[in-house]
Each structure stands twice: as C-alpha cells, then as structure tokens.
Amino acid sequence: MATNMEEMLEDTVLLQCRVNNKPCELAIAPGTTLLELLREEMRLTGTHMGCMTGHCGACTVLIDGEVAKSCITLAATVQRKTITTLEGLKDADGKLTPIQQAFWDEAGLQCAFCAPGMVLTATELLKSNAEPTDDEIRTAMAGNLCRCTGYQSIVRAVRAAARVMKQLK
C-alpha cells in the first residue's frame, strides 16, 4: 500500500529551473501556476496578482528573456527555463537598471501595481530595439494595463531609458 508520501509524490512534478539567477528545484502540484509558485512558495511578491485572466499584465515575468503572464502559465511548463522577476533585474549591489531608473525619474509608475508588466516589457523591447518609436513602445506595452499614469509618462520613461542605454553602450 502506498504511503501518504508516495501518493503525494505521484501527484507532484519535479520542477527544475532558474529563478533570478538561482537554481530552483522543488516538487509542485501540476496545476500550480507560475504566479503561485513565485509569490507563495518563493515569496517573490514583486510579481503581482491582478486579473488572473491574462489581461492586466501585473503578473509579468521574463521566461528565457521573453515576457509572459505568470497567472496563465503553469509552473510545470517552465522546466529548465530561466525566470526573471522584477526583483531579479537589479544588480548585486541593489542598483536599479537604466529602465527602472527611468521609470523612477519620469514618474512612469504611481501605485506601481503594473510595474512588473511595464518594466519587464520595456526590458524585452529595448533588448531587441534600441531606439523604438512611440508607436513601437505603445504596441509593445499593449499587454499591460495602468490605472494611474494615463500611459504618457510610461512612454516617456521608455524613451528616456533608451537614450541612457544608448549612451552607456
């Protein structure tokens, strides 16, 4: 007869991935979302729980460098992948990235509930497009809802970040 532990293990998936540059290995229930894993198991609460339908973007993370909504991503599907949350952007000294700094300087965030989506999407955008037009910025940001800024300061922040990153190259 199976023990409780054996039954439990049968109902779990062994997940191996990297989260914010640290190896992660843990047994999870197959239905666990990546959002639940990050917030509840790993206490990475910079990833926000918003709509839970994939609309608002507050739960955004980078999976292998590409933005994804963690509320509609099953954690078991990120096997051997690299996850970066908002907490994982800053360097070891705690210094903000140029994009984070630009959002701070340009008031790109007010309540900051949308910060994961806005900042991480800008990160993916500026990696592939160093000088995006305003239209390209707005298109890239379309998967994120902000209820404070009216979006103008967000576009300004991304433009400012692009300028700084160009100077740093």
């Binding site: 973007g57 509609i72 993916e124 379309a142």
Partner: protein, 255 residues
C-alpha cells in the same frame, strides 16, 4: 487557464505537449505552407515565410489580445482548439481557407478548418491532437485586411473581420469575408456577399456589405464586450471596413 483560475474548469489530469518539437515551426513545400500547432503568435508575426506568403496571418497574429506576454507563449493551435468566440485566429484562417491536420488514435486526418469548427462545439476531445495548419500562399494580387473593434490595444474584440479580395480593374473578382466575435462561431460571409462579385467597389457596395453582414448572425453574443444589438450592428461595420481596407491594399499591391 482563466477558467481554471476561476474554478470553472477543474482538470484532474494535465498533459504537457510543449516539449514535442514536431509540433513547432513553419515549412513550405510543394506550394503549401505547414504551421506546427505549437508555433507561437510572435513567430507568426516575424517568420519570413508567413510575412511573405500569408501577410494577413502575420498581421492578425499581432492583434491577438494580451500583448507580447500572450504572443510569446500563446500558440496558433491553442488559439484554434480553445474555440473561444472572441479569439482572433480562426476567422483569419477561415478567410485563408486553411486545412488542419489532426492526429487521432486511428490515424491522421486532414480536413477543412470550417468543417472541423462546424463539427465540434468545444475542442477536439481528449483523444485527438491538432498537429498542423496547412495553407496555400496568398496570391500576389490579393488584398487583405483584418479589422478588430476593441476597447484597448491588448483586449478582446467586440467584433472582428478578416477580408481577402482581388480586383479585376475596379471590380471585385474575389471576395472572402469572415466575421468573428459576434457569435459563438466565426461567420463566413463570403457566400452571402457573392452578388458583389463583378461589381465595382464603391459606397453603395460598402453599404450592401454592411447590411448583408449585419443580417447574417442567427444568434449573437451578449457579454462584457457589447450587447447583442451592438454586436449585430458592428458585424456589418467591421466587415465593411475590412473589405474597404482590403480593396485599398489590393490597389496598392497592383501599382
């Protein structure tokens, strides 16, 4: 996943097909383009074959709701088999007269997407797997458009329409229009619009497209995107706009 998050679906078994490489990628052979079911929307937007031969599909994949986060992870096969009435890809693939390939325990079958959608009310069941979408390249003289009415750039549409046209002089020689997001299933309006073939595209033709397409839905969605009256009206409006844009596209292409 939204249904799972809100407890409307409670799966007891999860099967991850994400690691099957055979289901990913786009190939072109013998005049036919095959798109693996796990190809994500972002790939459709940027793939050289799709951008050259199926520009309508490349464009519409960028209009899928949810933004880059969904485009990076959401697959063309998932978009189809979810059979969600507000999803963007089915109307476009119907306008492009796509076939689909389905793997079942008794073998592989190929069928027109329209036939599959008509046969099934939700999904393909638990024993079948959508493997590929098969399409002919669009003709070089084709004009195309995908119009979507939506409240934000990343949201679901309250009506959408895909149109493919070709012109002979200033007259319509091909006209395919499929309307989505107004009924449970996409509505192929091409037959209803047959009478416009051989006629010039002008304001009167546009008004005819609008009235015929508004009259087409037998049942209408009535949800957060808009009530049934709105949906019926917008079915016509979005179809007219799509044909108008497709004609303009064809005229540009022919210059």
């Amino acid at each position: 996943m939204p249904h799972v998050n809100y407890g409307r679906l409670m799966p007891t078994v999860y099967v991850d097909i994400g690691a099957l490489p055979e289901l990913v990628g786009i190939t072109e052979k013998d005049g036919e383009i095959a798109i693996g079911a796990l190809t994500v929307h972002r790939t459709l937007q940027r793939d050289a074959i799709v951008c050259r031969a199926l520009p309508l599909l490349a464009y519409s994949a960028a209009q899928v709701g949810g933004g880059w986060q969904v485009h990076n992870r959401g697959t063309v096969g998932g978009n189809l088999v979810a059979m969600h009435p507000l999803y963007d890809i089915a109307p476009v693939l119907l306008a492009l007269q796509a076939d689909v390939e389905i793997q079942a325990p008794d073998g592989v079958r190929r069928a027109a997407l329209g036939k599959i959608l008509a046969e099934t009310s939700h999904g393909l069941g638990t024993s079948s797997l959508l493997t590929r979408i098969l399409l002919k390249p669009m003709t070089s003289d084709a004009g195309w458009a995908y119009e979507k009415l939506k409240i934000t750039a990343g949201s679901y549409g309250s009506a959408n329409a895909a149109a493919v046209v070709s012109l002979s002089g200033n007259k319509l020689s091909t006209l395919r229009v499929v309307i989505g997001a107004v009924s449970e299933q996409p509505l192929d309006a091409s037959e209803a619009l047959h009478g416009l073939l051989g006629k010039p595209w002008d304001a009167a033709a546009g008004a005819r497209v609008e009235s015929l397409c508004s009259a087409l839905p037998k049942t209408l969605l009535d949800d957060q995107q808009g009530d049934a009256t709105w949906r019926r009206a917008m079915a016509g409006v979005v179809a007219r706009r799509a044909v108008q844009a497709a004609v303009a596209n064809a005229q540009r292409t022919s210059k």
